[in-house]
Symmetry: C2
């Protein structure tokens, strides 16, 4: 069973029943799920969690849906990897990578969709839909297929090929919209008024967004039921960022960890940085932007939770950074070369911003830090093609290979000598 007990307005705190609703009828503030934490604290122990499945459903009492409605592709409980080589490269003592590239559709969106589709089924919806920058589309299409539901997926018409094929393969009604994500989102909001579909990130958004908290639960559990000093999290709508912080606080509320002292810092691409720009300017009110960045999955110019992300930074003494497209590509490569993890561009944004935050002193060397890598690199190979070391091309002869290798090494040594002499 679920311990969700109401929706509550984040602004005026008015309560609503657990319906497919997402904004307050009085003040238009966003609605958020409220739980009976006392009841949860009675049923949820470190031992009960450890005895659960190796998926996000191990935290079922904290999810806003009855598990009997779940559509389970095996999402969550992804690796938390100690990243010593990357830590050394950027000047940190202790760094962890939360690797969410190994979810069923290779991004963290499987978490929010798992929860949203379960709640949609519980509401009785037979259709599922979304407005997406790509990763969400992949996940909604896959989960809709697994559940045998009518599935409608709306994306901007200029997305990366991997993300288009990665949705189309599941045969949803795939709709490519001429416009930006923000245009797609406006159009879907209109459609949600009349169509009998659960738009996961619109009319069931309060439930959907709760799925992100499972990243916090996992990190805390994987660290031995404690929280890190600092988290660096990519920001698109800003929802993921705020929900990780909510997750840490909830674990304390139900008695599973000490009070979290974690500083929360967010990462954006310079080409779409409404939240990071507002942080830099010291305001809680961001100005919408027209995105222009290779980090398409973060290209939300008018972020729904931007205000709350900025409040979370204030509350936790965190901050925000932004990275140029070239820094993003270099960071994708750095993460791969040092840790063996191939992230999509959003992961490059996070590693590049992490590096900047260490360089600026915003993150101190001795702060134990977790960086959240939210999508796999095969989704955005266009971004790195042409920026990688040229392979050796040889005929099928070991002698030919050894000659080519020697020639390459001589060239590299020459370059190194020349560079050293300059």
């Amino acid at each position: 069973m679920s311990y969700a007990q109401a929706l509550r307005c984040r602004e005026c705190e008015r309560e609503y029943p657990l319906d497919p609703a997402f904004f307050c009828q009085f003040c238009f503030g966003p609605l958020e799920v409220d739980y009976d934490y006392e009841a949860i604290s009675r049923v949820m122990t470190r031992e009960s969690v450890a005895a659960g499945p190796p998926t996000l459903w191990r935290y079922a009492p904290l999810l806003p849906c009855d598990p009997e409605y779940k559509v389970d592709l095996g999402t969550g409980y992804t690796p938390l990897l100690r990243a010593d080589r990357l830590a050394e490269a950027i000047g940190l003592d202790t760094l962890w990578i939360k690797n969410d590239t190994v979810n069923p559709t290779w991004s963290f969106k499987d978490r929010v969709v798992s929860v949203a589709i379960a709640r949609a089924r519980q509401f009785g919806f037979t259709g599922i839909a979304c407005a997406s920058t790509g990763n969400l589309a992949n996940s909604v299409a896959a989960h809709g297929a697994h559940a045998g539901m009518d599935t409608f997926v709306f994306i901007p018409d200029d997305l990366e090929e991997g993300k288009v094929v990665g949705s189309a393969i599941y045969s949803p009604a795939l709709v490519m919209v001429r416009g930006s994500y923000d245009d797609v989102n406006r159009m879907c909001t209109e459609l949600s008024h009349d169509q009998p579909w659960a738009f996961v990130n619109i009319n069931v958004r309060p439930y959907y967004a709760e799925g992100s908290r499972t990243l916090a639960y996992e990190v805390a559990e994987q660290l031995g039921w404690r929280t890190p000093d600092h988290c660096v999290v990519p920001m698109a709508s800003g929802s993921l960022f705020t929900k990780i912080w909510k997750g840490f606080k909830e674990l304390h509320q139900v008695g599973l960890i000490d009070e979290p002292q974690t500083r929360m810092s967010g990462s954006q691409a310079a080409g779409c940085s409404p939240i990071s720009t507002a942080y830099a300017e010291g305001t809680l009110n961001f100005r919408p932007q027209k995105p222009n960045t290779i980090a398409r999955s973060l290209a939300i110019g008018n972020p729904a939770d931007g205000f709350y992300a900025l409040k979370t930074m204030q509350e936790t003494e965190g901050g925000a950074e932004m990275a140029t497209d070239q820094e993003i590509i270099d960071a994708v490569k750095l993460l791969a070369e040092t840790e063996g993890i191939f992230a999509e561009t959003a992961g490059g944004v996070t590693v590049a911003c992490l590096k900047r935050m260490v360089e600026s002193g915003h993150i101190r060397r001795d702060e134990e830090t977790v960086a959240f890598i939210t999508g796999g690199g095969l989704k955005t190979i266009e971004a790195v093609q042409g920026q990688l070391t040229e392979p050796l091309r040889v005929p099928a002869s070991s002698d030919a290979f050894l000659e080519a290798l020697e020639a390459r090494r001589a060239t590299e040594a020459g370059v190194a000598v020349a560079a050293g002499g300059a």
Copy 2:
């Protein structure tokens, strides 16, 4: 510690010490790792496994390397998903998908590389290498990067772009060889005589191959410590196929399950089917082929373990099938549409062959079956591009979308009526 106690020739059963060696000095038979199963049965219980990490290292006593040398990207313990919609589509009562697309480099090769690189470090190698059809290259490059080892990756020069970028991103020495996989493999075998590198699938192959057994351990554990009636497994070298069967038998040997009665059946592409063709002809001696198939990751024309795969079919009353390129593509789509799992072409081979085996009566409707999906679909998007339902393309207007949707539905209904009337 490891319970591996010797290498043993699979033909003449001569014993060798645990060295970097792979063939018998007397009869040239392949070497395989032997364990002290009695000691393992004393330390390994269902409870000790359950208390282990959610990775393949939960089966550490059955692995041929000391865990202290491990290079751990979090491989293994992947989902075993009940596939009711696919089962219904092809005519089975109970079907499970072992989804190995959610490993760190999105294929099962992370299993064999995890074990090979650990053993290579234990031997003192500082360089790691492989001959690969693509997936192994991705995995060796990633693990080599994570461990900070010299890394050499040899691939045919006409692989899919996702597999090339998916290796190059980790900055190994990437060598693209003009020739087939079999050419690349011959060249690497030569190099392994002189170079101080662990070629994971050549000079440390006996250890490497053992990693595949973890798939059997996981399936048995995930089914509640029992084995299925039938397994369908893709065959390239044939090693994975034989090792899954070995894994089931070992679990019985150490007292964790009843004696397995599983029938083992293998899948190949029609364009590279040396093992399936030999099975169809009723012989244990396959004839090498020149591969010509979109299933590049299975395109091994001269399979090292083909003979043992055929023996395993004989021993288990299993069999083999092959699928055309079009059947492979259709099966990739069928798996995605019914279960929400996007597999690379090798997964299409397995689902297409599974379908054929049910149709032919080789697999009976009431046999509980597990199909092994060994790599993710983003690695081979070329194979399905142009074969997917055309998206709806609309301007950013809900009215325009609804019109386009109605028009599409009218067309589809017209097509359906026309088809019904024909």
